[in-house]
């Protein structure tokens, strides 16, 4: 690991000198530093700076401080009753130990688990721009079928972020250029020809909190497919919320994880579903419509069938659960 200086952050919008990065729980950053993929000159610890509280917003939403640990967020009674999809997504991720350290801000900004990105000795357009992408012809079994580019097909690994995108959450930031409210769906960017940039955040822009809008639909769920029963990243996941009235879909929110460089809001599928019969046939047809844009490589085509079936099964269960508010 390259050496660095350490300091505790004192105020918002301090900005960061070049070569400095924020440290929260450290469960991703310290790992990447050990691997030599991250090599900051300065670590600015934000644990005393960012709020670790969950508070009520006027109108019925919740504000989650960026320092709230994943385990505390998942266990919060308000989150469990109003946003089950979020609690379930958090509990599906990592392990008890990791969730106790991992923060809301750090979870959103965790980096891809693509094996070439995590290996500093390998070419990778994300960790060393312009060196190429060995994944296309190499190991891409868990990489993107949607939203990738010639330069990069890495997937975003967070479970929590998929639920936040489905819930229309808003990410609050504070940085040298002032404060911003960024819809969770727009926080992460597609790689295009600049895969080294995961998000729209500027250097030194701190995530201060995440707002969950008042719930319209509490009938929500997260389902994750993975290579072992627990303590493994997703190979595909679905976050969904649904209301059904008289056998017809009312409101529906659908987001997919582990299939794209960002949490993927399945807006084409949502569009098809609103007002459609709440049946397995229409759930499958909606997933197919979203997946029409998918592009698979040699070893990740299974994700197309996986997402189709996973989506239909989650929506079927939500419909059976009443699909009411």
């Amino acid at each position: 690991m390259k050496t660095f200086t350490y300091r505790s952050a004192t105020g918002f919008a301090d900005g960061l000198e070049p070569g400095a990065v924020f440290l929260a729980g450290g469960t991703n950053l310290v790992d990447l530093m050990k691997l030599g993929v991250a090599a900051p000159d300065v670590l600015v610890d934000v644990n005393r700076l960012v709020a670790d509280e969950i508070s009520e917003l006027p109108g019925g939403g919740l504000r989650i401080g960026a320092g709230v640990r994943n385990s505390d967020l998942a266990a919060d009674p308000r989150v469990r009753t109003r946003y089950p999809v979020l609690s379930q997504a958090l509990l599906a991720g990592a392990s008890g130990q990791l969730r106790n350290m991992a923060t809301t801000g750090g979870n959103l900004l965790q980096r891809t688990r693509c094996r070439y990105f995590m290996d500093a000795t390998k070419p990778c357009n994300k960790h060393a721009p312009g060196t190429g992408c060995p994944a296309r012809d190499g190991d891409h079994r868990n990489l993107a079928i949607l939203g990738g580019s010639d330069a990069c097909i890495a997937t975003h690994p967070s479970d929590m972020a998929v639920a936040l995108v489905a819930l229309d959450a808003v990410v609050n930031t504070s940085g040298p250029a002032g404060e911003r409210r960024i819809p969770a769906e727009e926080l992460h960017r597609l790689p295009g020809d600049a895969p080294e940039r995961d998000t729209v955040l500027e250097h030194g822009e701190l995530i201060t909190s995440v707002d969950l809008p008042a719930v319209e639909v509490t009938n929500s769920a997260y389902r994750k497919a993975r290579d072992r029963a627990s303590y493994a990243f997703a190979v595909g996941s679905v976050a969904a919320a649904l209301t059904v009235a008289g056998g017809t879909v009312g409101d529906v929110r659908l987001a997919w994880g582990a299939v794209a460089p960002k949490p993927w809001r399945a807006r084409i599928a949502e569009e098809r579903l609103r007002g459609a019969p709440a049946t397995r046939e229409s759930f499958l047809a909606a997933a197919d419509a979203e997946l029409a844009g998918a592009r698979a490589l040699r070893d990740n085509a299974y994700k197309i069938a996986l997402m189709r079936n996973l989506t239909a099964s989650v929506l079927e269960r939500l419909a059976a659960a009443g699909g009411t508010r």
Binding site: M1, T3, F4, T5, Y6, L23, G26, T27, V30, D31, K34, L35, L43, D45, N47, S71, A74, A75, R80, P84, S87, Q88, L91, A92, A94, S95, G96, Q97, L98, N100, M101, A229, S230, Y231
Partner: protein
């Protein structure tokens, strides 16, 4: 640098790159916490940080100078330790200190009613110490010897003591 471990405050001269795990093992002679993977993937390094179970291999010591760290050396005849002995919850023992610290932290989480991925819709009415719950809650601790079957009753029994 200051580190508080098992109630004792230590003054140490450490490189900022030092993890809590390396500080314990290399500088404080507390070799209970083990280095399995050094990347958060196995749980062998589990300790309690202000009472909560965490992977010490991913903690920078410099960032945790105000915390209370508890390692397996800090337990004496703890119900979880007794359970592991009585139920033969280990084979080679390499993962065991991490399993024990993790189980202590996990039982506290159960006490507080925290749900897990194995918990259904109504956690109120659920047995948070069923086999499925214990296995899911302990999934952050791997055991190369596969001694899992005996750990499950060891942990459940400890909860009742």
């Amino acid at each position: 640098m200051r580190l508080t471990v098992n109630g004792i405050e230590h003054d140490l001269d450490l490189d900022p790159r030092t993890t809590v795990l390396d500080a314990l093992r290399e500088h404080l002679d507390l070799t209970g916490a083990k280095k399995g993977c050094d990347h958060g993937q196995c749980g062998a390094c589990t300790v309690l940080l202000d009472g909560r179970r965490v992977n010490s291999c991913l903690l920078l010591a410099v960032a945790h100078q105000d915390a209370e760290i508890r390692t397996v050396e800090g337990f004496e005849d703890h119900p979880v330790q007794r359970g592991f002995l009585e139920h033969d919850g280990f084979q080679c023992g390499y993962c065991t200190p991490g399993q024990i610290c993790s189980a202590v932290g996990m039982l506290d989480e159960v006490e507080r009613g925290w749900p897990s991925a194995a918990t259904g819709g109504d956690p109120e009415g659920e047995d948070l110490l069923s086999d499925a719950e214990i296995r899911e809650r302990m999934s952050g601790n791997l055991c190369r010897c596969g001694a899992y079957p005996n750990m499950v009753p060891a942990i459940r029994e400890a909860a009742g003591r």
